[in-house]
């Protein structure tokens, strides 16, 4: 790594494929990806993730808007592979080429020494299989080779498209630690996925898109706090408590089958204070743990989602 931190920036990106009306893959999308953090780029299949990444990497020309790597368009980078390492889903290998051969081609195109090829093969655990033809590789081995290709230039930025596909649980755990350590070194790491749970333990920040539009952008913790949390309350005097809670503005109270109150719009502390003031005894008071996957599904489902 060259030592300088490089942020990624997407500014009002719009991409329409085809002529006339065409297919609107990405629509007025803006976000920043910061160095030293792992950012998850999330959305259902077909939501425009890959198109956005390909715009960032100069493979697809935007209809309007800009994509910048450290302030410059990718196509103007002086030494692209030393700045950005990318592993894209639809990027392939010639089946008749060995992993070592594939890497040596990429190394040649960026003036990288052959010794580095051996290094990255060892780094991703392909040292043994490196001299075999890629045609005989499993999906997981291909993912590792993609990652090795991305790491070849020791880049400041790593962009990985669905990197966990085809990896076994052991591989996923390895990838998680690996990405965390890269971010800890000050690198910028952007990982796309269509399942939040896959990257939930890895990412610091999330960018969530649906149908090419931004639906949520911020730290992973803000994703849950931004949602209306449900507080579960049990009280021997629940009817009186429900009444006084119901008088608060923009609060909803429902009762579940066990007689517990489910409150949204108030924090547990506020409810506790209210009960104390009303002299109502409480048996249970706790904020429901957020199921991030449910939040994610709500955000990205076709009808639902935040504004």
């Amino acid at each position: 790594m060259t030592g300088n931190s490089v942020a990624l920036e997407v500014r009002s990106l719009t991409k329409v494929f085809g002529r006339g009306e065409g297919v609107r893959a990405v629509s007025d999308l803006s976000f920043r990806v910061e160095p030293g953090r792992v950012t998850g780029f999330l959305g259902p299949n077909g939501s425009g993730k890959t198109t956005t990444l390909r715009c960032l990497l100069g493979l697809v020309s935007p209809t309007s808007g800009d994509t910048l790597v450290g302030g410059h368009p990718y196509r103007e980078l002086h030494d692209p592979l030393h700045t950005v390492g990318a592993a894209l889903e639809a990027s392939g290998f010639h089946p008749g080429r060995t992993a070592r051969g594939h890497l040596s081609v990429v190394a040649a195109s960026a003036g990288i020494a052959r010794a580095r090829v051996t290094e990255v093969l060892e780094l991703v655990g392909l040292a043994e299989a490196g001299n075999r033809k890629v045609g005989g590789y499993s999906l997981g081995m291909r993912q590792r080779l993609s990652l090795a290709t991305a790491l070849l230039g020791d880049p400041s930025v790593l962009i990985l498209d669905e990197p966990a596909n085809g990896l076994d649980p052991e591989g996923i755990a390895w990838l998680r630690n690996f990405l965390r350590s890269l971010a800890a070194e000050g690198r910028t790491v952007l990982v796309s996925s269509h399942v939040l749970s896959e990257v939930q333990l890895t990412v610091d920040d999330v960018v969530i898109i649906r149908k090419g539009e931004l639906v949520s952008y911020g730290s992973l913790s803000s994703l849950s706090s931004g949602m209306n949390a449900t507080v579960i309350v049990r009280s021997p005097d629940s009817i009186r408590l429900a009444e006084s809670i119901g008088q608060q503005a923009s609060v909803t109270v429902t009762t579940d089958t066990t007689g517990a109150l489910l409150v949204t719009g108030m924090s547990a502390a506020e409810i506790g204070a209210l009960a104390f003031a009303q002299n109502v005894m409480l048996h249970e008071l706790h904020a429901q743990e957020h199921d991030l996957e449910a939040v994610f599904l709500e955000l990205t489902s076709s009808e639902g989602g935040a504004a």
Binding site: R75, A90, H94, R97, S104, A108, A110
Partner: protein
């Protein structure tokens, strides 16, 4: 320079080039054997027995490596369409986001490979012709004519390889590109030559024959070929026109 080194490494890390070279050499050998043993004994023509006494015919035996040009066309097509077929074009353009130098590097690489194919096939046709003609009564192989053939095969095969890259760049589907190119070489071109006489000289095959001094086909002198220089210029013209069209489309294309 990096792009050029990467292109050569691409060719050297698969076995395709070696296989195609082997096929081309076998094809050239077959052509020489046909022209030495079969055509002169064919009963179809009145004077076939005298063919080996005609200097232009004997020189055409040496130049019959021209027919191996189709393998050079194929290697260019596969080299380019393979990038799309296996999606290695993504890695190529990630490493070299400025696409014009990539296309130039590819053209130069395949031109060099085409020239090497040409030199090897020329050596095969010259060598095999010398051996098989020995002991027969035949007109001499003229060194200066063979030298022109050598120059022609280097230029012509380099151009054919570039044409292959250009065709592959325009028609990204590998199978479609190969079929269209082969149909053109083996069907459309011969039919046009047979039925519209004047086209012979102006088609790529005729230009290649002119520059390579390949003046006899099927035991008959080809009429109306351009001079070697004009043929060479015409070939270069084909490469420039097709190459520019292919480059412009490739430079703008979204890689998805």
């Amino acid at each position: 320079m990096n792009a050029l080194r990467a292109e050569f490494r691409k060719v050297l890390t698969t076995k395709l080039a070696l296989w195609l070279l082997a096929f081309s050499v076998a094809f050239t050998a077959l052509n020489v054997l046909l022209m030495v043993y079969l055509v002169p004994t064919s009963a179809r023509m009145v004077n076939s027995g005298q063919l080996l006494q005609i200097p232009a015919y004997v020189n055409s035996i040496v130049a019959s490596c021209a027919n191996a040009s189709v393998f050079v066309l194929i290697i260019g097509i596969i080299g380019m369409t393979g990038e799309y077929r296996h999606m290695t074009i993504t890695a190529t353009f990630l490493a070299s986001p400025r696409r014009a130098p990539v296309m130039v590097a590819k053209a130069v690489t395949y031109a060099v490979i085409g020239a090497i194919f040409g030199i090897i096939n020329f050596a095969v046709s010259l060598g095999l012709a010398t051996i098989t003609l020995a002991g027969k009564e035949h007109a001499a192989i003229v060194p200066s004519e063979s030298l022109q053939t050598l120059g022609g095969v280097i230029l012509g095969f380099a151009i054919y390889a570039i044409l292959g890259v250009a065709v592959g760049s325009l028609i990204r589907n590998q199978v479609a590109a190969l079929i269209i190119a082969l149909v053109f070489v083996f069907l459309i071109q011969p039919l046009l030559s047979a039925f519209v006489d004047w086209t012979t000289a102006w088609l790529p095959g005729g230009a290649l024959d002119a520059v390579m001094n390949m003046t006899y086909r099927q035991g008959e002198a080809t009429s109306g070929l351009l001079t070697a220089w004009a043929g060479g210029l015409l070939l270069i013209g084909y490469a420039v026109v097709l190459g520019v069209i292919a480059s412009i489309t490739t430079l703008k294309r979204d890689i998805t």
